[in-house]
Assembly symmetry: C2
Homo-oligomer: 193 residues x 2
């Protein structure tokens, strides 16, 4: 009996720990989206999540460790499209990237990260990891197109990624112009030709 209730109590503690970690991460994400990186202080996270600062520091040794954890968990999780042709695959990937990286709260978070990465090599490494995932996805799409005979030679996937994602990033984060379906088409066309 004593063992059972000890296990039960340990289980309760696990659940409580999990809940408070989730609350801290959700709050951090919300603050990031609303106020940018500068708005995320451990004080603000504690106040809004209701989790004590000491508890936050038990799980994450620093504000930066918390930010890195939250950003790493958020960052692009897309499966690689397989729509049957090179333009369709690239278009589908472009749409996924826009939905996952450049829409809603994530756009503001991405910019905050890009800004802070200019001064912080840990955050720059996080961006580089996101970029690697993107380039891997483009590479898989290009290899498949090459096998289908759509490409005579395999282009550098990091060049292809920059040519496709660059104009989307530019419109969404710099010029604030609308990303129309016609613009996606133009971007894919300029790469596939």
């Amino acid at each position: 009996m004593q063992n059972d209730s000890a296990i039960k109590r340990a289980g309760d503690v696990d659940v409580r720990v999990r809940h408070s970690k989730e609350a801290v991460m959700t709050t951090t994400y919300a603050l990031l989206a609303e106020e940018g990186l500068a708005g995320v202080t451990v004080d603000a996270v504690a106040r809004r999540s209701g989790v004590a600062k000491t508890t936050i520091y038990r799980h994450w040794p620093s504000r930066e460790a918390l930010l890195l954890d939250v950003c790493a968990q958020m960052g692009p999780h897309f499966d690689i499209p397989d729509a049957g042709s090179l333009p369709d695959d690239l278009r589908a990937l472009a749409h996924r990237v826009v939905e996952q990286l450049l829409s809603g709260p994530y756009a503001a978070i991405l910019l905050s990260l890009m800004d802070a990465a200019e001064r912080n090599p840990h955050l720059a490494a996080l961006l580089a990891a996101a970029q690697t995932k993107l380039v891997e996805a483009v590479h898989a799409i290009l290899v498949r197109a090459r096998r289908r005979g759509e490409l005579r030679r395999l282009p550098d996937p990091s060049n292809t990624a920059a040519l496709i994602l660059g104009p989307l990033l530019y419109r969404r984060l710099f010029s604030h112009e609308r990303l129309s379906e016609a613009f996606f088409e133009l971007v894919i066309d300029s790469v596939v030709r």
Copy 2:
């Protein structure tokens, strides 16, 4: 005599005012480049420039007014290239934009602005003004190429701007890959074809 020295004194005041305004703006720019938008407080500017806070507030009613003034004066100020052919003109423009917007301290400032523009419509308007200057330059280049018979029809200059500047922005601010001469060539080629 009395009038002369009154004029002289007024002239001295003008020079002092101009010097202190310049010191404030130079310091603001330096702080922006080193620490991003969050690093620019009126306190920090006063401390570093040696200009009293009351004097700063006499010239700019708020921190934001100071930031807007500094950013508006900084850039971009490029003349439109006229190298004799469409690819050469676009390549020259791309180089100037990279030098003026995406190099040295300006890259970090631009990112800070892009980040803050997500939450601040005044800063978003400042970016839009920079984008308008870029599109006007691209438009002038395209019109000249059309007159020379290099283009059958005039493409939308804002599309051309996004296709050229997007990949450069992506490499410089997101993926932190090198902007090689071969990459410039690839970008211009993908647009001109």
